[in-house]
């Protein structure tokens, strides 16, 4: 791979030198020809995604010289509009599609910036013409180049504002989502390529490329005039539609996590039901606990952040999550118990962070978890097992959150859950509780409190 | 003229994400 890459880079640098020479002499068409040759290296099939990325970065760097020079030379040109209209056509004479489209994007971006150019048409054209590249890796990098180069060009004016000839934020959303849909399609298609014995290798490569797809969502989130209504009515449904329909776990898990990461807490709070409904439709192989956990963690941080308005009172957050978590767990027959508990842990996290003064939510979760374990006939759980690790985390959570064991005592179901652990597990929890009391200097003034604590640490006492 | 295209047919989601036949 290193050898292939070196050979390609050598050719790139040679042609780049010629390209720059032609640009210095304002021989633009000749410069385009040299650019097309250096871009031809991106037609390669010999490089793995990681090495293709290195080649891509180098080539994009060289190509930026072309864009910069073209932009700079505009100022001295009598009729830049006519010139770039011609350039936009001339670069399409290139016989191979990869160099042609990279050049089209490079020239198109400069053309876009000229006063009077058909901006809306250019943006739309660039997105549509990229359909010609159906090869997953080459297509992903090409469209990534597109979304990177057009970052500053996307119209970000409110709907109804006609001041931008490129359109308004609705047009920008349409462009980005179209690009996103095509990229996700190519990314998922990678999964089906190649022999089945190379499945793991393919999946690893796919994970390396996920950021290329995610960049589209980042770009959407950066639109300043993206309103909640647009997010709820257009952006989220389109993204979730792709995530659910692709029926591919790596893509689904990444897209859901990406949505959680890039969009604002207010958007998430307003669209919880839609998002969680989609979670229930995801592939069984998706680690749904990661998705739900990520969302809950995010909202929990939001709820407790300094200066945050907190969770609006009209949003019964716990009830929503609890209901959907139940649906998700119910719809996945083969869900491992540790994943069930991980989801419950996330709910406890939500309850303790968002509703610190009301332990009834946490209590509900502990109660239902104990029931689930009973139904699954799980008892004597070892603390270092998969289930055990999750249980330990869950049990410790309210204790760490409150740092006041007296408050934790109101979670009556906690002791039932502790009893599902084996001897060692119960001892560890007992020690944890006692250490927490000592570290926090919690004073036990009531007999009931003492009895409560003794119940929690009874294994140690016995 | 340099941006002329014909209208494309929409691809259904099933078609888009189906494994190659």
């Amino acid at each position: 791979q290193e050898k292939f890459l070196d050979q390609a880079l050598k050719a790139v640098h040679q042609e780049s030198f010629e390209m720059k020479r032609c640009l210095d002499k304002t021989q633009y068409v000749e410069a385009f020809k040299h650019s097309a040759i250096l871009l031809s290296e991106l037609r390669t099939s010999t490089l793995s995604p990681k090495f293709y990325y290195r080649l891509y970065v180098d080539i994009v760097n060289e190509l930026s010289h072309l864009s910069t020079t073209l932009s700079h030379d505009n100022s001295s040109c009598e009729n830049p509009l006519a010139r770039f209209n011609e350039f936009y056509e001339v670069v399409q004479y290139a016989g191979n599609i990869i160099p042609r489209l990279y050049l089209l994007i490079s020239v198109g971006v400069v053309y876009f910036k000229i006063e009077g150019s058909p901006r809306k048409e250019i943006l739309k054209d660039l997105v549509e013409m990229c359909r010609g590249v159906q090869h997953p890796i080459r297509g992903l990098f090409l469209r990534n180049f597109l979304i990177t180069m057009t970052k500053e060009l996307l119209p970000d004016t409110p709907v109804g504002d006609d001041s931008n000839p490129a359109g308004n934020v609705a047009d920008a959303i349409e462009i980005i989502i179209e690009n996103f849909c095509e990229m996700n399609k190519l990314w998922v298609r990678m999964q089906h390529q190649g022999p089945s014995r190379e499945k793991e290798k393919r999946e690893k490569e796919r994970r390396e490329l996920r950021i290329l797809v995610g960049t589209n969502l980042v770009r959407l989130s950066q639109l300043e005039n993206l309103t909640l209504e647009m997010y709820r009515n257009t952006v989220l449904p389109r993204v979730l539609e792709q995530a659910v329909s692709c029926r591919e776990p790596i893509s689904q898990e990444y897209l859901m996590e990406c949505v959680i990461q890039v969009f604002s807490d207010e958007f998430h709070l307003a669209t919880l039901n839609e998002f969680l409904d989609a979670c229930a439709e995801l592939s069984p192989e998706v680690r749904i606990k990661n998705v739900l956990g990520a969302l809950i963690d995010r909202l929990a941080i939001y709820a407790t952040a300094e200066g945050s308005p907190g969770i609006p009172e009209d949003i019964p957050l716990f009830d929503i999550f609890s209901k959907h978590a139940g649906e998700v767990i119910g719809s996945r027959e083969g869900m491992p118990p540790e994943d069930v508990i991980a989801i419950q842990t996330a709910l406890v996290n939500l309850a303790t962070k968002c509703y610190p003064d009301n332990n009834s939510y946490a209590n509900t979760v502990f109660g239902s978890t104990a029931k689930v374990l009973k139904t699954l006939n799980i008892t004597g759980v070892a603390p270092n097992s998969n289930v055990g690790r999750e249980l330990m985390k869950m049990i410790k959570m309210p204790i760490e959150q409150h740092n006041d064991i007296i408050k934790v005592l109101s979670i009556s179901e906690l002791s039932e859950l502790i009893k599902t652990l084996n001897y060692r597990g119960r001892c560890l929890i007992g020690a944890f509780i006692i250490n927490n009391i000592l570290e926090n200097g919690t004073q036990l003034k009531e007999e009931n409190d003492v009895n409560g604590i003794f119940e929690l640490v009874e294994t140690l006492i016995f | 003229a340099a941006t002329q295209r014909l209208v494309t047919k929409r691809q259904t989601l099933d078609e888009a994400y189906a494994p190659p036949a």
Partner: protein
């Protein structure tokens, strides 16, 4: 021995008339004056004596405007579809350099100049100085372009084609007639894909047919190859086509020229699979040279 002459053919508006490049039989480019159908062809013939103070005897001087079809494998049998002649001088002697004007009025030039693989069509001025033994002949070519004007309304070319259970596509090109600087706008829609496609391209093929009836000889030449898709699509995919004809050396479609040859153009849509098998669909298109509308004030 004896006096010798050099003949120079100069056209009347040589400095102002447009010149165009045309590829000759050897593949080199030549630049010649451009004429259109109906234009008069005029100029002067200059005959310069190489030796001073020596007369030059001749049996007559003639100028011809000829439009000719020449088939390479039958060079002796040229067909002059245009042959206009003017006598410049009766038999006599030349004592000094002499210039003879010529004028062919409103000459019909029905066909476009063409240099192909097996046939060429050319227009030229030929000056013949007749002598007793060997005539002195000088020729100078001009290029003729044929202009056409078609209405803007034109049907698109749309067709579904396929191999059963294997590959079905619907292709569409926006027109069936294109001028030489036109843009082919089209799309390919995949209805069924059960082969591993590597890429897809459109080739422009020129087919030169020489002869008639059972003795037609066809020669295909790939003028262009234009990649329109990289990688393997799935069902429901639409691939856009935008091919600028101005980027290629094309001429207009020529049908049954002088009942001797035709030049036709085809778009060849080619899909290549992972094992380099080629699946193709050829479609004839008509190319024409567009008459430019005159500038109106």
């Amino acid at each position: 021995w004896g006096q010798q002459i050099d003949i120079y053919i100069k056209f009347a508006d040589e400095d102002t008339r447009k010149k165009v490049q045309i590829r000759n039989e050897e593949g080199r480019y030549e630049e010649n004056l451009l004429y259109f159908d109906g234009e008069s062809v005029s100029g002067e013939i200059a005959i310069k004596l190489r030796k001073r103070n020596q007369k030059y005897e001749h049996q007559g001087i003639r100028v011809d405007f000829i439009g000719q079809i020449e088939v390479y494998y039958d060079r002796g049998n040229t067909y002059d579809f245009v042959s206009l002649s003017k006598d410049l001088a009766r038999p006599g002697e030349l004592y000094e350099d002499t210039t003879f004007p010529f004028f062919f009025s409103n000459v019909t030039k029905s066909y476009e100049s063409y240099v192909g693989c097996n046939v060429k069509l050319r227009y030229f001025i030929r000056v013949t100085v007749s002598r007793r033994i060997t005539d002195v002949v000088k020729e100078r070519d001009v290029v003729v372009h044929s202009l056409s004007c078609y209405p803007d309304t034109d049907v698109n070319l749309k067709m579904e084609v396929g191999i059963e259970d294997c590959l079905h596509i619907e292709f569409e090109y926006n027109r069936s007639r294109y001028h030489l600087k036109d843009i082919i706008v089209g799309k390919i829609y995949f209805l069924l894909v059960r082969i591993k496609i590597k890429y897809m391209e459109i080739a422009i093929i020129r087919r030169e047919s020489v002869g008639s009836g059972p003795s037609v000889y066809n020669e295909n030449e790939n003028i262009a190859k234009y990649e329109i898709m990289d990688g393997a699509p799935v069902k429901g995919e639409t691939i856009p086509i935008r091919l600028f004809l101005a980027g290629y050396e094309l001429g207009p479609t020529m049908r049954d020229i002088g009942k001797r040859f035709s030049v036709r153009y085809f778009l060849n849509l080619v899909l290549v699979d992972e094992e380099d098998r080629r699946y193709f669909k050829q479609q004839e298109i008509t190319l024409y040279r567009k008459a430019e509308l005159p500038n109106r004030r």
